[in-house]
Amino acid sequence: MDTEPIAVALKFGFLAVLYLFLFWVSRSALRELRRTSAPAPEATGFHATAGPGGRSAATDASLVAVHGGGLSPGDRYDLFGGLSIGRSTEADVRIEDRFASSIHARLYSRGASYFVEDMGSTNGTFLNGTALEGEAELADLDQIKIGDTEMRFELELPGDG
């Protein structure tokens, strides 16, 4: 029996099936990608998002803009993973305030608590009206003031949302 044609058919058939399979997998992957595009503005949902009123899933504390700094009052910033506040574009929360330094202060969590730390700013950070030296622990509804910008720290209690 001459097996040559079968061998050739198998050779090309193998490649054909392989590529059809890969095409099928990538097509379903693409389709899935389109369907899940809705939820998180920032795909991983991993970093702080700054959308108006936007809260990402893992949040349990947030910083809320009160007035000034070019922020719309009520804007919420997820504190998951910590964030920096300042005048530079590199800051997670960018404020337009002539008294603010480029990276003015930062907020972060350690264990179950949240802290605010002044990053050596020129004009200082004020926590509930008193100038901040180094870092301080944050309590629910604390006021943070940088220059003319006011913000509020909010803890989300279990069952809150």
Partner: protein, 451 residues
């Protein structure tokens, strides 16, 4: 269609491919069509279906394509190894059964994989011990310290170590990442973190350099350091860390490379494998390049290419390969990709690379969907190190980077490689199941997905 039905459907082409592959090898060998290839395909399908049923019970929501894609790699590997040597293929098949058992054990034992976070320093220590094990036992292969002999079994600890290191880095960075990601200063367009936060980066860089010194293996240290940088990038979103890390690695590798003769020689071969009076090891990459060129667009056909010469190829052949008449060195492990290119051609080789790319895509998708920091970093890290390993060996064989003896995941012959990658796949599927499990607030979205 549900995720598991999709998985079952995807296993069908895999079974077809393994059958076609074996049939092609049989035809070339004995010039007749036998139904033996159907039997082999049947066995393979039965094993895959068994694993599939297990997944159906334990991880019903896990990613549907990860397992079939890995099975496809295993199928191609088995066919090519069978084409090289029957006995090796039998060993490899037995190792796959063992690997599947460990795959199931991992899934059962680590139902809540977050326990890994608790033992991270223990896991890190185990990983480092595994890595320096071959150096302690002074087991040298081709100038590099890669394997440990335990009685009759020889195993490559780096394969298991990669999982340990990724677990450690994922849990470490999940906890410390806010310290690294809060911005500091910008110098010439680069964000430079405060010096104290550079500590971990320096430690891991130092470890990679030490690896280069002890194991004398550029590819492995590139693999580990690359996975670390990928994780650091996922954790902090600071691309500058990656750039700084890569620059540090390149500098360190260059300085050390000129000092360690083994690494230096590999580098010279990479720059010019056809140099007259070049290093002795250049023959490996020369043969590999010739073999791949021989494949052409569609390849010689499975089993059709000239892989062995009658009579010994090199009298002083040091490869632990059954027949030293092999034209390619280590065709069943390091150079298996060259065999694939030779027999399936450019299209077959690109197909294999595409499989790795799709696995990486599924892995990163899992990371994106994962619910918490540790899961995200774990999935991203495992995927990164898996993809980097494939890159390191495919790149080495095709002369994109200096050659390193790591295995091609799931394809190469080798017990430790198969077992380690099965465990890696099990961990990815565990994360994936957790990530894709419908939650009350996401029910509507997932309902749409399942359609």
């Amino acid at each position: 269609m549900s995720a598991r039905n999709r998985e079952l459907l995807a296993l069908v082409p895999v079974a077809v491919l393994v059958t076609a592959g074996f049939a092609a090898v049989f035809i070339t060998r004995s010039n007749e069509v036998t139904d033996l290839s159907l039997t082999y395909g049947g066995y393979f399908l039965a094993l895959c279906v068994a694993a599939h049923i297990f997944l159906r019970i334990r991880l019903p929501h896990a990613d549907p394509y990860l397992f079939p894609l890995c099975a496809l790699l295993a199928a191609i590997g088995l066919v090519v190894i069978y084409r090289i040597d029957d006995g090796l293929a039998f060993d490899q098949a037995s190792v796959f059964v063992l690997g599947l058992v460990l795959f199931c054990v991992t899934i059962v034992a680590l139902r809540d994989y977050h326990v890994l976070e608790r033992y991270r320093y223990l896991i890190a220590t185990a990983g480092i011990l595994l890595l320096i094990g071959p150096f302690i036992t002074r087991n040298e292969t081709n100038g590099a310290y890669l394997s440990v002999d335990l009685g009759p079994i020889s195993f490559q600890p780096a394969e298991l170590a990669k999982i340990c290191i990724v677990i450690f880095l994922a849990s470490y960075l999940a906890e410390k990442r806010e310290m690294l990601s809060v911005a500091a200063r910008r110098v010439v367009g680069l964000t430079i973190p405060p010096l104290k936060h550079f500590g971990p980066l320096l430690v891991v860089w130092g470890a990679a350099m030490l690896m280069l010194v002890f194991i004398r293996d550029l590819g492995s240290s590139l693999m580990f350091f690359g996975a670390f940088l990928a994780l650091l990038y996922v954790a902090t979103r600071r691309f500058s860390y990656v750039l700084v890390g890569l620059a540090m690695f390149a500098l360190g590798a260059y300085v050390l490379g000129t000092q360690i003769p083994h690494v230096h020689e590999r580098f010279d071969i990479w720059l010019d494998p056809f140099a007259p009076n070049g290093p002795a090891g250049a023959g490996q990459i020369q043969q590999s390049l010739f073999a791949q060129a021989d494949g052409g667009l569609f390849g010689q056909g499975l089993g059709e290419s000239l892989l062995k010469l009658p009579g010994p190829f090199a009298p002083d052949c040091q490869q632990p390969f059954p027949e030293c008449g092999s034209i390619l060195p280590a065709p069943h492990t390091d150079f298996i990709f060259a065999v694939i290119t030779m027999e399936l051609g450019l299209f077959g080789a690109c197909g294999v690379i595409l499989i790795y790319a799709l696995i990486a895509a599924r892995g990163f998708k899992t990371a994106v969907m994962a619910p918490d920091g540790f899961s995200k970093l774990l999935a991203a890290g495992l995927t990164a190190i898996f993809a980097l390993q494939a890159f390191v060996i495919i790149g080495g064989v095709t002369k994109v980077i200096p050659l390193t003896g790591v295995t091609l995941p799931f394809v190469s012959f080798g017990g430790s490689s198969v077992v380690a990658n099965m465990i890696l796949l099990a961990l990815l599927l565990l994360v994936s199941d957790r990530a894709r499990r419908p939650r009350p607030d996401r029910a509507s979205e997932l309902g749409e997905l399942g359609r």
